[in-house]
Symmetry: C2
């Protein structure tokens, strides 16, 4: 190795060390369901209002006391938590492992992108609904407030790599950045991903690379 | 960026591009159990010989026709495949997800390292056994033949990073290298890890970094 090469390497290492680490708390989402107002009626009875069990980390979102049973061609999963408030379209989020239990193959999708996604039957205490689309395996993503996006130097739609330390350490690739003044900083992964890296809720991950950018940054 | 820095960067990129990729087929291990000869007797009857269902990729190892039920404090898992041939100590390998189902917390261990590991009850058609240790979640590892170790430049006990491409791409850290003239090249992960990266059996991973070495290599 020549002197110049060593100088460049040292410079890069010093720069990387001095940089603020871009750390993000991680939360593992267990299987859950968002219901349209119409489906709340059909599963829980006409005019039923979801009852809050506890607030979620994202503002105004809550886990409801209500649960449903998912029924697939090969099996069923009971006690699937309903999240509130009721919203436009019903969306069921399960892990790929849950997909094997149910006998369905949920596509990996961003929340809200349900066109052509999976079908599933949902059983509530007052009725049953079969949806032709709306079953997904949620793609890993990071919610962040506009101010976090600025301090991290990333924008809504960017893709980053996130490193998690530990005996089952991994670097997650292709992690979608979602920026909004309504969001709180948190990375969302599913149970398979949490187990694969043996992640406990609240554990920190670090953005170690930006893989793709939606818009050209000022830097 | 000055010219010299660009020259160094280009040199590194060209070198990296010309290097042989270190690709390895990946296999996901579902939950399974290795039984001691004594426990074969107790679960399946005195003098019982395990019946081969099919050969496994590692020489002389086979999936047996026999299955058992695992019973934990919170639940049971049926149809857990027995692997043969019978060997020294009984070892039960499950995923962390299976651990939640059973209500136990299997430590992440290398195969064979069962001292102080988890307890579990095993039910067979002719009897039941409770082991005080032997329940583990297998740590991710790569089996390779001695010749693979030489061509990849790694030794038994080294730890490497393995990259898997795809919409759920990950880089697995802390992957143990196991080299033996009896092994065939294959990376073993569990079902949680396979789902987290949406890996299909036989898909290729690539060694992208050596994290730690047991011995100083000749290079």
């Amino acid at each position: 190795m020549d002197k110049e090469k060593i100088r460049v390497l040292v410079e890069e290492i010093v720069k990387a060390t001095l940089k603020q680490p871009k750390q993000i708390p991680i939360a593992a989402s267990n299987r859950h369901i968002h219901l349209s107002p119409e489906h709340v009626d059909r599963l829980f009875g006409k005019g039923h209002q979801l009852n809050k069990l506890k607030d979620l980390s994202q503002p105004n979102q809550f886990a409801a006391k209500e649960t449903v049973t998912l029924i697939g061609p090969k099996g069923k999963i009971q006690n699937v938590r309903v999240l509130g408030p009721a919203r436009g379209s019903t969306q069921v989020e399960v892990s790929l492992f849950d997909g094997f239990t149910l006998g369905v193959k949920p596509p990996i999708r961003n929340s809200g992108d349900i066109k052509g996604s999976g079908a599933i039957t949902i059983q509530g205490p007052r009725g049953q609904v079969t949806i032709n689309e709306g079953l997904i395996c949620a793609a890993r993503h990071i919610h962040m407030h506009t101010s976090d996006g600025e301090s991290f130097g990333v924008s809504d739609g960017d893709r980053v790599q996130v490193r998690v330390e530990g005996e089952r350490g991994v670097i997650f690739s292709n992690v979608l950045i979602r920026v909004s003044p309504k969001y709180k900083l948190e990375m969302h992964i599913d149970i398979d991903e949490a187990n694969a890296a043996n992640i406990k809720n609240g554990q920190l991950g670090e953005i170690v690379a930006i893989e793709s950018r939606v818009q050209v940054s000022g830097g």
